[in-house]
Structure formats: C-alpha cells, structure tokens
Amino acid sequence: MSANAQPVTPVTLDTKAPPALLRADGVSIQFGGLKALTDFHLSIQQGDLLGLIGPNGAGKSTAFNVLTGVYQPSQGQVLVRDTKVNGRKPHQINLLGVARTFQNIRLFRALTALDNVKVACRAQTALHQSRLGLGAKLVNAGHNYADWWKALLLTPSFQREERRLTAQAEHLLEVMGLSHRRDEEARNLPYGEQRRLEIARALGSQPRVLLLDEPAAGMNTREKADLMVLIRKLRDDFKLGVLVIEHDMKLVMGICEQITVLDHGETIARGAPAEVRSDRKVIEAYLGDSYLESHGGAA
C-alpha cells in the first residue's frame, strides 16, 4: 500500500456550499509540553455522519472537548456556522446548536428521566448570551431575574412554558423509547437506557450537530445493532450532523460515511470506511509495525 505517501488533505473549503454547522480549522491544543491535538481539521454539514477513531489516548475526547468549549484551542479556531466560538463557554456553544453525550455517562442521577430532558429543553429557551457589551449583559441579567420572578409568581405564561417543556421532553423520551421510564430516577435505569437517555437529553437542547462520545460502550451486540439504526434515524428525523467517537469498529465502519483517524493528536487518515480500513498508517497505529512486517505490509 503505497497510496499513503501524500499527507492527509485538510478539509477543502467550498465557498458555494452553506457554512458548515461546525468546523474546526487547524485546531491545536497543548497541555504543558504534551501536544494533545495537532492541526485538527473537521467540518460537519447537515446530514453528515462522521466518525472519529483512534487508539486510546489519541486525542479523540480532547477533540470533542475543544469542539464543545470545555478546552480552549491553543491554535486554530472552532466555528459554528461561521461564527468563531473560541473562548465561549460550553453552555453558549450548546445554545448555538452543538450538543454532546459523554464517554462515561453523566446524567443528572437524582433527577427523573423526564426532568433530565427538561433541563436541556429549558436551556434552549434562555436568551442567547454571546459576548456583548455591558449594557446587553445587564439586560440579559435583568431578564434572567425576571424569569425567576415569573416562576415564583407562577404567572400564566410561565405555566404555559412549563407545559410546553413537559410535552417536548415527553416527545423526546418517546422517540428514544423511554416513555415507560418517565418518572424514574436516572440512576435506577439500566445501562443501555441511560445511554439512550443521554442522547434524548442532548436532543432536548435542540441541536443541529450531535456529538456522540462512545455511544456503544458497554452495549451488547444486539443493542449495538439497534443503536446503529437509531443514530441514522435521528440524523434523518432531526436533520442533524452527527459525529461519533467509537471504539467499536463494526459500528463505525457500518454507519459512518467519513472517518477521521487520530493518533497521538495527529490526523493520520481521513476518508471512507473502506479507505481507512486499508490505510497503512491506521493499521500501524492500531496493531503496531511488527504486525505489518509479519504480514508483508498488507491488510
């Protein structure tokens, strides 16, 4: 396989296409001397189903954290629909339409399934808080305090809003097949359902891009198969762009249209599943060069 001599081409920017829902442009991040991510490019359009893979410690979760604002990129920029979001807080990025799930499930354990989703639904109705002037900040703060007063006085508009949130959250639970768990505390749900609830919660914030961090971890074969169908369905029904981090190759190869492979923070390959699977660098990263030597370099 000699096709890998040329470097990985970065995402080409087509000026005629609508702006990417989420784009990373040459993002690098360093923790002290450790380069966790180097010159990372990614572009997600509506309807995309992208995969992000790599061995342990390759920087996949770091990439997620940069995209969602948990970490600040040391270099490069992250754009949501052509708005630069470097330096914004995670909740502000979420309000722009980027929602995620977590590798180790992070539900609000003591809240019911319904309330978990409602928290995310509610946030989306909050005012957009970008970095504006002091005046706008004061206005925002005023609105926020007024909102509390509405809750304390149980104004009719507040009651209507609460009912709307409940209806929306119930709808999402139904979509994810969790209606029967509506009033159960999240911590009492079985593992697979907790994973699904996390996706329902992410959908509650009405995202346009959904980032799934190892959604199939700990699932059995059948659940994984169901999940593959579900992810595709969600992408179509909710008109999302989806990015999946996954260890399970069968799942990634099965559903993703384009896969980016990271190793030691560097993008070593990008392309359709079949290309990536036969890529020498990818095999090397996963199985070591000794494997390649003993198998004559072919996969």
């Binding site: 948990v70 909740h91 979420n94 929602a99 509610r122 509390w148 992410a202 009405q206």
Partner: protein, 354 residues
Amino acid sequence: MQSPALPVPEAPSLVPPALRGILPLLIAIPTLALFHWSLTGSDFATYLLSVVGVNIILAVSLNIVNGMTGQFSIGHAGFMAVGAYIAGYTSLQLKEVALSFLPVSASDQVLFMLALLVGGVAAALCGFLVGLPSLRLRGDYLAIVTLGFGEIIRVFVQNTDAFGRALGLSGIPQYSSPGMVFFWVFLVVLAARRLAGSSHGRSLWAIREDEVAAEAMGVDTTGYKVRAFVFSSFFAGIAGGLFAHFVPIINPGSFTFVRSMEIVVMVVLGGLGSTTGAVVAAIFLTLLPEGMRSLFGALGTEGSLAQRVDQIRMPIYGLLLVVLMLSRPQGLFGTKELWDVLPRWLPRKRRGLA
C-alpha cells in the same frame, strides 16, 4: 425547529392559571392574621416563636444554595448581619417618621416592611458581590470565601461607629411580631418550593448533580449559582431584619461563625435539598436548648447545668452531626419532602411505580 410544534396541553387544574400564583397567599394571610390575633402567650413564648421563625427562614434560604445547588456556603450569618444592621439602622432613622394617612400602628408596620426590604436588598447585593467572583470556583473554595465574608462583616460592624461598634445597635423599635415572622416564613417556603418545582430549580439540581453535564446542556452554571446565592442572601437579610426588630439589642456577637454553623447544621440535619426538612430541623434545633434547659431545671440541677445549656449546646450539635453522618448521611429527609416521607407511616395515596 426540527421536531414538529407540539401542542401545549391545557393545565389540568380547577384553579384558573391566573389565580394559581397568588392562591396560597390568599389562604395564608387570613390564617396568619387569625394566628396573630389569637396569640396570647407570654413574652417568652412570643420571643421563642419569633426565633424559631427566623431560624426557619435562614435554614430554608441556605438550603437553596447548599442543598439544591450543591454549593457549600458557610457564611450565612454574615448576610443575616447585613440585613439586621441595615434594616435596624433604617428603622432607627425612620423612628420619628409616621405616615399621616395611616393609623400609627399600621404606619409602623409599613415602615417596618420597608426597612426589611432595604435590609434584604442590601444582603442580596452583598450576595451578588461575593458570589460573582467566588461562584466560579468549585467546592471548598466557595466555603472559604463565604467564611471570610462572614468574618469581614462582623469585624467591619465591630469597628464602625454608626453601627455601635461592639456594643451594637439598641433602641430599634420593636415592630416585629410572630405574625410578621411567619408571614415571611410562609413566603420563603413557598418561594423555595416553587423554585424547586420550576425549570430554574431543575437547572439548580442539574448543577448539583453534574456541573460539567449541566454546562454542556446549555445551563449557564455561573449565572444560576449567582442567582441562587442572591436569592438566598435576600432571605437571610430579611431574617436578620426581623431578628433586629424583636431582640432588644443586636451586636456583632449575634452573627459569629458559630451562628453560621448552626444554620448549616439545620440544613444538613434536615437533608440537603429538602425544604420541609430544613423547616423541621430548624424547629427541632431551636427548641432543643430550651428543652434541655427545662429538663435540667426539672432534674434540680438549677444554677449549674441549666445555665450552661448555651455552652454545652455546640458539643451536642457536634455529636448529633457525627451520629447523623454515621447512620443517615443524607439527612433526615434526604432530598425528599415531608409529604414524600410521611406516607410510610400514614395511609395515603400509593405511589404506583414498579
């Protein structure tokens, strides 16, 4: 948005939505008025009742920060002090003022309410100023900052002539009555319950459960924490204002770190996150020393133990906390409310969940 606009269901209630907001007030005010007029107890009973009420307000308001939001504030007495001194000072300044269009007692009550609100708002402002920088911190740091704030207020008051230095403020008109105190108790409990049941309350719970996830789901965690803190400080200020209007004198000694810890113990005992738990614990812990006093008095240890109840109170609190942490770390009620816990003993409607 992507999902089809869902129909908003109608409210399943007999009460028209416009009325639901004030219905509890319409019921409570006449009840409290009755309670007020029928109260013929001794001065001591009146005083004790007021102290119980003030402690309930303090515990319930602290529970919003420590319980619902999961932040650990241990400077609540500081905000109470701000409210007490500002409200007391306002009342002293307005002592000679009377609203001519009202009878004297009504005018006094209006001025009292005004002083309370001034005290509450001042405390809320302090809460905002303390909260804004420190609520970006997590865990122990907030505790340290609030502890420092409480002490700063105490030392500041101790060295300010306008507030009477270590002697304190005296001669504040005694406007307060159990009726007024319990009106505010009612307000704080209602506000805390409504907050807990609203989308804002859910966001606070979410912060308590997992701050990272809450932030990722679009909850402005710092903003919410500051708002909860301001809210809680406001009521602490009100409690302080009420306190200033029924004790003969307020001095810095009433607002020490020990006072803050008493309130924290009430919240922990009641169960972090349980409003009714805070109420029950506040009543219990306020009456406990009185109970001990009468018990020791009845045992004939007059003059020794009975007079030292105030000194042995804290070790008993400590012991209580140790026992509680060992046997029931989530507090009496956990995050549940009285009406969730009661059905275990009372035959009430069954909760039908497998």
